[in-house]
Amino acid sequence: MIRPLKLLALAASLLMPAPSEARPLVLAIGGEPDGGFDPIMGWGHYGNPLFQSTLLRYDAELTLVGDLATDWTLSEDGRVWRLRLRGDARFSDGTPLTAEDVAFTYNTARAAGGLADLTVLKEARALDELTVELELTEPRITFVSRLATLGVVPAATYGEGYARQPVGSGPFQMVEWREGEQLLVEPNPYWHGGEIAFERVSFVFGSEEAGQALARTGAADVVAVPPSMADAAPSGLAVLHVETVDNRGLAFPMLPDTGATTDAGTPIGNDVTADRAIRVAVNQALDREALVALALNGHGRPAMGPADGLPWDNPEAAIPGNDPTAAMATLEAAGWRDTDGDDIREKAGLRAAFRVLYPASDSTRQALALGASEQLRGIGIDAQPTGSSWDEIGALMHSQVVVLGWGAHDPSELFYLHHGDYAGVDYYNTGHYANPAVDARLEAAEAASSFGASLGEWKAAAWDGETGFGPKGDATWAWMVNLEHSYWVSDCLDLGPLQIHPHGHGFPITHDLPSWRWTCE
């Protein structure tokens, strides 16, 4: 009599899922930070600091909300941030987080020479237990991006080995990091942000192929994949394409060729692209939908500006593309006509021709350069796609058109790309663009009294009704496409609302990891 009962119990125990055995979430999204998890050296500035929390954070709509800070004010002159901290934030070792820790983090990062750019910070001070003051050397509203990205470290225990043994007040604590292989994290029991649905999360690193193989064997729940193969998701996983501002465009040399050179001796200026009519015509002619289909397999969206869809973007600055007729009219009106019958226009003996440089190793940029060239030929402009190395591009980018890409959750990018002070500095303002009205707008934006107040100035810098760096104004760029970042995501996982991603793959998708939920079981 007893034996059947025993068998039944055994069968039941085998059929029932083990109650407390929550399975680990496995992510293969790349992006291993070789240098470790030290915010002072730059960890977390793109995406999610994971182990640390920040003073502020961007929500899914990119609105700033408090994280460690409960309220914050910027002084009248725009130079002093005063922030009140929440009282219940604790590091994963149980010690409370105070204003001292914040001041220590900011002061240390300023001096560290890492990937956190705090050169504008004069000093951070703890006024009392929970109030901190950050004084800047000059008004700089984009400093809020630092408030939203610099993770706070504990002043008492920060030191030599911190990057590999991070302790923070963020949603997770490190359990184990086997470099080059995987990172294992578990929820920080002291985190102030609420419940996390996973007992353990594993980030598997290694090649893209390794991630895909894991997905095919059912061992991974979120996998980053190249857009070209995204649609072939294995069973149990769904395709997710995330919108980005990871953009690609044509950067124009803005000055005529006067024989001037950079300090390194490379030529500046191009007589063809120095003519606004050419730049506007390129903007009018480009069929961006076709470029998305051609170069991105349809996984992207047309780019009209450097920050499409972000709060500081000005859609008014754009002009409609895919209109060769309008483009040809623009060229005609400016005196660009085909006089020798070779289908390429000339003006005063000058052919409407320039090179379009792209890194030969990047197939997406190559496809964009070839596609744009084909479209421009139709309006009588000879854009010669030229694959080269970054080295060569560096030497020619002030005199030829280059396919460049940007896109960040930070309007200071608009400043770097268009302000006259950054002409010829690194890859920023390659065209040596300088318009006093735009410079003034950009400076006014940085000097604004609040982030909200700066938005209008950023937009006006692109187009204020009369001038701007956007296509309606000086047309410094012809933006082409915004990429999509593609993932395979387990059918059993709900990621909630997602941000528009910035340039670069990997950790951005984990921005809201604490609020992800299993939907099966």
């Binding site: 070789d34 750019d117 594993s202 290694g206 390794a210 991630g211 940007w406």
Partner: protein, 327 residues
């Protein structure tokens, strides 16, 4: 009786004393000539959040604002104190990066080394003993096919068949995803080693098979072998007896001399299998123009290959008495 050993060691020591400085200077020159800006590589996609002042600060923090000769001098100065410097990409002492990653690579390379030696020699002997018959033809075809196959391609093929297709073996990593090192069983570790080790073995096996086969055939044609054969020894017994001794020295020399190739192959295998070894670190260091780390890895590899060759010579002399005679 072992008079050859001190001579050999002394000769090699002399060679090492001029080889090391030469390699260091050569490596550093190549790295400084590489068309990669280490600061740009370090900043990577984060350009828009790093202003020019901060770039200068980064360059200064890593000493990259100094001229190349001065950087080399200060690197040498540190080296004399036993310090290999600080890695830019890993933001950690070079010594530590190498120390944490070398064991995983050594396990992989060591196992592959032994496996390919045993398999290669046995297959070569078998082929020679069965010369002209079907096992010989199968083995030779296999060897030629393997010699022509790139390592990473073999790796992807193995993953496609045994991990994704059949589901027998894990597709990646040294341990199962989501498990702590302490939770991983020994069986798991071995299972995770199978595909990478097989991939790496393939790199070294083909030349070994063909060389062993050839040297055994030469032996079987010799008067000594004819003598043994007339006394009733079968080709198989001769292959595994005196023939093995005859071929082993050559095989071992060849194999140890090729140790560098297996080490090189591990870079690709580690990338495909997400193996936490030195190979991946090498790739990152190279793409980031991380001079200190590249120098460290380069010198470590040099010592490794050098030791491999030295061991090869010693082992070959022990196995084959003919080599002990002064040349």
């Amino acid at each position: 009786m072992r008079a050859w050993l001190p001579n050999l060691l002394a000769g090699r020591l002399v060679r090492l004393t001029w080889l090391l400085p030469l390699a260091a200077v050569g490596l550093f020159t190549l790295i400084s000539l590489a068309p990669i800006d280490p600061v740009q590589a370090y900043v990577g996609g984060r350009s828009s959040q790093i202003g020019p002042e901060q770039r200068d600060a980064i360059a200064a923090a890593w000493g990259l604002d100094q001229p190349a000769a001065k950087r080399f001098a200060s690197w040498l100065g540190q080296l004399t104190k036993g310090d290999l410097g600080q890695s830019i990409t890993f933001n950690a002492p070079v010594m530590q990066v190498i120390a944490t990653r070398l064991p995983a690579s050594l396990a992989l390379v060591g196992l592959a080394f032994v496996l390919s030696f045993v398999l290669g020699t046995l297959l070569g002997l078998t082929a020679a003993a069965m010369r002209g018959r079907w096992p010989d033809r199968v083995i030779r075809t296999l060897a030629v096919a393997l010699a022509a196959s790139p390592g990473f391609w073999v790796a992807i093929l193995l993953v496609a068949v045994f991990a994704v297709g059949l589901g027998w073996l894990p597709a990646c990593c040294a341990t199962p995803p989501g498990q702590l090192a302490t939770e991983v069983t020994l069986a798991d570790r071995w299972r995770h080693m199978v595909l990478p080790v097989v991939t790496l073995s393939v790199v070294g096996i083909a030349p070994l098979v063909l060389h062993t086969r050839q040297s055994l055939i030469a032996f079987l044609k010799s008067p000594a072998a004819h003598h043994l054969a007339t006394h009733g020894a079968t080709p198989l017994r001769m292959a595994l007896g005196p023939g093995l001794r005859h071929a082993a020295g050559v095989a071992l020399t060849l194999h140890l001399a090729g140790a560098g190739e297996i080490f090189g192959g591990s870079v690709l295998a580690e990338a495909v299998f997400a193996w936490p070894g030195l190979g991946q670190a090498t790739v990152r260091a190279a793409t980031g123009a991380d001079a200190p780390l590249l120098m460290g890895i380069g010198l470590a590899t040099l010592l490794f290959v050098f030791a491999g060759n030295l061991l090869a010579d010693i082992a070959a002399r022990l196995a084959d008495p003919r080599l002990r005679r002064p040349a």
